[in-house]
C-alpha cells in the first residue's frame, strides 16, 4: 500500500477483546484496531479498505452505517476478499482430500458480471464482517461479490495469495493490477516477511 499508487484517506477505529498486538517486551497488550481506507490516485472513484482487525458482531452494523451510510447507493460496486480455513468448508468429500487453497464466491442479486470461480454451495455459509457487508449490499440492492479463499494455513503464504489471481482479471479489478512477470517474485518477498524467523533448532 506504500507503492505511491494509493493514498490513505481515512480509518475506522474500534476496540474489542480480540484486539491485541504482540509486543516482545510487554507480551500481549490491548490496542485500538483499525480498518484503513485508501483511494486510488489515478482514479479517485476507487476505494480500498484494508481490515486487519476483527470487527465484532455487535460492531458490524455500526461499521456498515459509518462506511456505507454516506456513500451514494448508485454506481457503486463492492468486492470483498477474505479467507477461511479449509476445516470450515463442508462437503461430502473428506476435508483433507480437497485441493487447497481454493476460491469460492457469493454475489448479490444485482451483481451481473462474470464470476471468477464457482459459487459457494450449501450447506456452506459466511459470517463475520464479509457477511455483514454482503447482507447490506443485498438489502440495499448494490452489486457486490465476495471471494472467499479456503486455505489450510494460518498465516499469509504465497499459495493463498496466488489463489486470488483469477480475481485480478475480473472487470472491476483488472485495471488495478499490473500484469508483470515478476509478480510471483514480488509476492514471495511480501509473504516472506510473515514466515517464522526462528525455530526450536536455532
Amino acid at each position: 500500500m506504500n507503492s505511491g499508487v494509493w493514498e490513505e484517506v481515512g480509518c475506522a477505529k474500534l476496540w474489542n477483546e480480540w484486539c491485541r498486538t504482540s509486543d516482545s517486551v510487554h507480551g500481549l497488550s490491548p490496542t485500538e484496531a483499525y480498518c484503513v481506507f485508501y483511494r486510488l490516485k489515478s482514479n479517485p472513484a476507487v476505494f480500498l479498505c484494508q481490515c486487519s482487525c476483527y470487527v465484532a458482531e455487535d460492531q458490524q452494523y455500526q461499521w456498515l452505517e459509518k462506511v456505507f451510510g454516506s456513500c451514494p447507493k448508485k454506481n457503486v460496486q463492492v468486492t470483498v476478499l477474505t479467507c477461511r480455513h479449509t476445516t470450515d468448508y463442508k462437503s461430502s468429500e473428506p476435508a483433507g482430500s480437497l485441493p487447497s487453497p481454493f476460491l469460492k464466491a457469493l454475489k448479490t442479486q444485482n451483481f451481473k458480471d462474470p464470476v471468477c470461480c464457482s459459487l459457494l454451495e450449501q450447506p456452506n455459509f459466511v459470517h463475520d464482517l464479509p457477511a455483514a457487508v454482503l447482507s447490506y449490499c443485498q438489502v440495499w440492492q448494490l452489486p457486490a461479490i465476495l471471494y472467499l479463499c479456503y486455505t489450510d494455513v494460518m498465516k499469509l503464504d504465497l499459495l493463498t495469495v496466488e489463489a486470488f489471481k483469477p480475481v485480478l482479471s475480473s472487470r472491476s479489478l483488472k485495471g488495478l493490477a499490473k500484469n508483470i512477470p515478476q509478480s510471483t517474485e514480488t509476492l514471495k518477498k511480501l509473504t516472506a516477511a510473515n514466515e517464522v524467523q526462528s525455530n526450536i533448532y536455532t
Binding site: E57, S92, P94, L106, V126, S135
Partner: protein, 224 residues
C-alpha cells in the same frame, strides 16, 4: 413460498449463503441473509425465517421491532414455532405428547373451537421459581429464546398470537422440525393428506439443502 423481502436489523448475527430452498440451477445462486420474509398469497401466508442467533442484549429490541412490524402490517394472526428443553419437563409432561400450544387472550376467542377439536395440549403453568415450594405459577418456556417475551408482549398489546412448540433435546433436530410442521399442518392444513390415510405426510415436505452435512464433512477413509 417465494421470497418477498428481508427483516434487516442490527439484532441478529450476520450470515450469508446461497439459496437453501433452490429447486433448480437458476435459483440456486440467489443470496440469502439471516432474516428473510416469504409469502404464499394463495393461502394468505407470510413466513419470517430467522437463520442466526441474537446479538448479546439485542433480543428484546428485536421483539419490539418484530411486534411493531406485525402491528403495522395488520397481520390477522401470528403463529410462533418454537421449542423448549425436553430435560426441563415435569413428570406429567414426560408422559404426554411433546407438543404444546399457547394462545393470547384475544386469539383464544377466535380459534378456541378449532383448537378444541384438534385435542391439543396447552402449555402448562409451572412454578415461576422452581426451587421455591410456594412459588406462583406462570408460563415458562425454558430454552425457548424470545418466545415467552413475544407471547407476553402480544398478550399486553392484544396481538392475535399462537405459540406452537415441541419439547426437544440437543442434537439432530431434523425430525423435531418435521414433527413441528406436521403439528402446524393439523391446524392450517397447508398440505392436505393425499388420501384418507391418517399417517403423517412427512414425505411431502422438502428438505432444504442447508440441512446437509449437519455434523460435518465426509470422514477421511484413513480414519478406518
Amino acid at each position: 413460498m417465494s421470497k418477498i423481502g428481508y427483516f434487516y436489523t442490527d439484532c441478529l448475527v450476520p450470515m450469508v449463503g446461497n439459496n437453501p430452498y433452490a429447486t433448480a440451477e437458476e435459483n440456486s445462486a440467489e443470496l440469502s441473509i439471516n432474516a428473510e420474509v416469504y409469502s404464499l398469497p394463495s393461502r394468505k401466508l407470510v413466513a419470517l425465517q430467522l437463520r442466526s442467533i441474537f446479538i448479546k442484549y439485542k433480543s428484546s429490541s428485536f421483539c419490539e421491532k418484530l411486534l411493531s412490524w406485525v402491528k403495522s402490517s395488520s397481520f390477522a394472526k401470528v403463529i410462533v414455532l418454537s421449542s423448549s428443553h425436553s430435560y426441563q419437563r415435569n413428570d406429567l409432561q414426560l408422559r404426554s405428547t411433546p407438543f404444546r400450544y399457547l394462545l393470547t387472550p384475544c386469539m383464544q376467542k377466535s380459534v378456541r373451537n378449532k383448537i378444541k377439536s384438534l385435542n391439543w395440549q396447552e402449555m402448562e403453568k409451572t412454578p415461576c421459581i422452581p426451587e421455591m415450594s410456594d412459588s406462583d405459577y406462570c408460563v415458562r418456556i425454558p430454552g425457548g429464546g424470545i418466545t415467552r417475551a413475544l407471547y407476553k408482549e402480544s398478550c399486553s398489546k392484544e396481538i392475535q398470537m399462537a405459540v406452537l412448540l415441541k419439547f426437544v433435546s440437543e442434537g439432530d433436530n431434523v425430525p423435531d422440525a418435521l414433527g413441528l410442521v406436521e403439528y402446524l399442518n393439523e391446524w392450517l392444513q397447508m398440505i392436505k393428506p393425499q388420501s384418507d390415510d391418517p399417517a403423517p405426510s412427512t414425505l411431502l415436505w422438502k428438505i432444504p439443502s442447508s440441512w446437509k452435512l449437519l455434523f460435518g464433512s465426509g470422514l477421511p477413509p484413513a480414519l478406518f
